[in-house]
């Protein structure tokens, strides 16, 4: 429930489901948090990632530990809007993209953030908003 509330506050639930999926969540879990009513938030295009692409997401999932969860939770309380940014980056990934393509996309987004001064300070770290948003999203896998 907490996960769903946090995400509803920041992004459209449908898009969020995609982000969660891309981050390696169990699809059934993702579907389970979808509301039955229409969300009032703006919905963004959903990347249609294939289930057999979980390998694509695993390197991120492997990052999730207590430290990341603590940082990501701080992100969600200090700068929840950054998750939107991370999702916006993610939805640009074409279907079937490689891990390298994903890394390149995120690196480029982080670089763009930094060059534009689009950064946030969380727990004593100044980070590009894309990176903060990614941490915020990944932190929701605490359970």
């Amino acid at each position: 429930m907490r996960r769903r509330e946090l995400f509803e506050r920041t992004v459209g639930v449908t898009g969020l489901a995609a982000l969660l999926a891309a981050c390696g969540a169990d699809p059934s879990d993702v579907l389970g948090v979808l509301p039955t009513e229409t969300s009032t938030t703006v919905r963004l295009p959903v990347p249609e990632l294939e289930v057999d692409e979980w390998a694509f997401a695993r390197p991120w999932k492997s990052l999730i530990d207590d430290e990341l969860i603590a940082f990501g939770s701080s992100v969600l309380s200090v700068a929840p809007e950054t998750v939107v940014k991370a999702r916006e980056v993610l939805v640009e990934l074409p279907e079937g993209s490689s891990l390298i393509a994903r890394d390149k996309l995120f690196a480029e987004s982080c670089r763009k953030d930094s060059r534009a001064g689009d950064v946030v300070v969380v727990d004593g770290w100044m980070v590009p908003t894309t990176l903060a948003g990614l941490a915020g999203a990944l932190s929701q896998f605490s359970s």
């Binding site: 990341l68 603590a70 982080c110 930094s114 100044m126």
Partner: protein
């Protein structure tokens, strides 16, 4: 000419034009400059040619510092023998920032009573005296000379201050033979105990200086002018002792007040991102210039940018680190996250770490002060007490500055920056720079010495060195102290 006062039979030393008290960077510079003009000069040095425990013990005192700041005992950073504190000087040299000299904005203090341009001729001499090689303090010019591209050029926000390092660091060692063969007598073991003053037609003058050797035997010397050149704390201590006889020294109520340091400390670390530490020659190391002089490039806020915001001047230097500092929260998680978002080829390189080390300015603060203890040394002189205070606003400025600089670093292609644990943002120390305590001001109502370093209240007593600094910028002070000694030599030559 070196003379051990413990072996001297003359209780009254020969009269001279100028008696210089202290054989550190300022005292040695002043004596050598004055000797050129044919004036009779003596140097009175409390220590000896080499370190002695007995002499050093006389620098012990009492120290307190504000919350979050630490400061060692007074005999740690000051050295009481020939060459003074240059005997453990690391050699960071640069001119004081230009905005330090004029009137300062907001509550940054009075500023200096002359401009940096007024001190430029003296700086030129000081560069030579300090064996600093070429007068090049421009990052682009230095890096161009080595065929290296500057990856962090200055702009409207970011400044790239440059430090140069002398070829010869120890004033005692470097100038020993020149002084030994000069006509300037250097009395070792000459512990100054205070002055006798006289007042004629309302003008107070120092007539005699009382001295003890290490055995406690009394000596005295008369001179047309006396110059305190014993370092920021010792000059102030001598003036506080003198103020018992000369009330005018306390007219401004600034004597002993406004002790200034350069708060130093690790304030952050940056993950490399697009740049490796070795791409940042000059910033992350100490390369040799084409004239074989070492230099270092730092980062800071553009002077005008800081001044417009009423902020103190700040600078940061970069040093490669083995890993993210332990004080940082979630360090390992951030490193892995950062690497995961990098192209495969540069993952590990992009999370190399460079530490950010602050060396900053603090505001003039009346509560930051030097005073006399009731405890005395073995010869009966009151010891000094230091209470170093840094204001909350200074800390806030440092924090703001490092965040601005961090943002500029990220714009230039660096990765995330950590400022450590936010709950313990500042754990800082001083830089061993003892400044203020007898500040320079044109008016006796606001300062202890005038623009010529003469005490307002005593017609022939001068104090040269860090004690006179009304504000201190972030630049290491030795080059400016030497420049002030050259300036004083010009003044005394005209007077005498």
């Amino acid at each position: 000419m070196f003379i051990d006062l413990a072996k001297s039979n003359r209780k009254v030393l020969p009269r001279c034009d100028v008696a210089v008290i202290g054989a550190g960077a300022a005292g040695i510079t002043l004596a050598l400059e004055l000797e050129k003009s044919g004036l009779s000069v003596v140097i009175l040095e409390g220590g000896y040619r080499d370190f002695t425990v007995l002499s050093q013990d006389r620098y012990k005192g009492e120290v307190t510092a504000g919350p979050g700041f630490t400061y060692p005992d007074l005999d740690v950073w000051r050295l009481r023998y020939f060459g003074g504190t240059t005997n453990h000087w690391i050699g960071w040299c640069r001119r004081l920032e230009e905005n330090v000299f004029g009137p300062r904005s907001n509550d940054l203090g009075e500023g200096w009573p002359f401009t940096r341009a007024d001190l430029e001729d003296d700086y030129q001499d000081a560069l030579e005296i300090c064996t600093l090689g070429r007068d090049v303090f421009d990052a682009n010019e230095l890096l161009d000379g080595l065929g290296v591209k500057n990856l962090l050029p200055s702009n409207d926000i970011l400044a790239t201050p440059v430090w140069r390092f002398p070829k010869e660091l120890r004033f005692g060692g470097h100038y020993r033979y020149r002084l030994q063969e000069s006509l300037v007598p250097i009395y070792f073991g000459a512990n100054c105990q205070g002055f006798s003053f006289e007042e004629v037609d309302g003008v107070v003058s120092a007539r005699r200086l009382h001295i003890k050797n290490d055995l406690g035997v009394d000596f005295e010397i008369t001179a047309d002018c006396f110059v305190l050149a014993g370092g920021g704390i010792e000059n102030t201590r001598q003036l506080l002792v003198a103020a018992d006889d000369v009330k005018g020294l306390r007219q401004s109520d600034t004597l002993g007040r406004g002790f200034l340091e350069h708060p130093h400390g690790a304030v952050g670390a940056v993950l490399c991102g697009d740049h490796a530490p070795e791409d940042l020659m000059g910033f992350t190391d100490y390369p040799l210039d084409i004239d074989k002089t070492q230099f270092k490039i730092g980062l800071g806020l553009n002077e005008q940018f800081a001044a417009e915001r009423g902020m103190v001047n700040t600078s940061f230097t970069m040093e490669p680190l083995e890993s993210i500092p332990e004080e940082s929260l979630h360090g390992e998680a951030l490193r892995k996250l950062w690497e995961s978002s990098r192209p495969s080829a540069s993952k590990s390189e992009s999370s190399q770490v460079i530490g950010l080390y602050a060396r900053t300015e603090q505001r003039w603060n009346a509560e930051s002060r030097i005073s006399l203890m009731s405890a005395k040394d073995d010869l009966g002189s009151k010891r000094a007490r230091l209470d170093w205070r840094v204001s909350d606003q200074d800390v806030a400025d440092i924090k703001t500055s490092v965040e601005i600089v961090a943002k500029e670093l990220m714009k230039a292609g660096f990765g995330p920056v950590t400022f450590g644990d936010p709950a313990e943002f500042v754990t800082m120390e001083g830089g061993g720079h003892h400044l203020g305590g007898a500040r320079m001001h044109e008016s006796p109502d606001f300062g202890v010495v005038d623009a010529n370093l003469k005490c307002h209240a005593v017609d022939n007593l001068y104090a040269v060195g860090g004690s006179a600094f009304p504000t201190a910028g972030f630049s290491n002070p030795t080059l400016t102290i030497v420049a002030l000694a050259v300036r004083l030599a010009r003044t005394l030559k005209e007077r005498l």
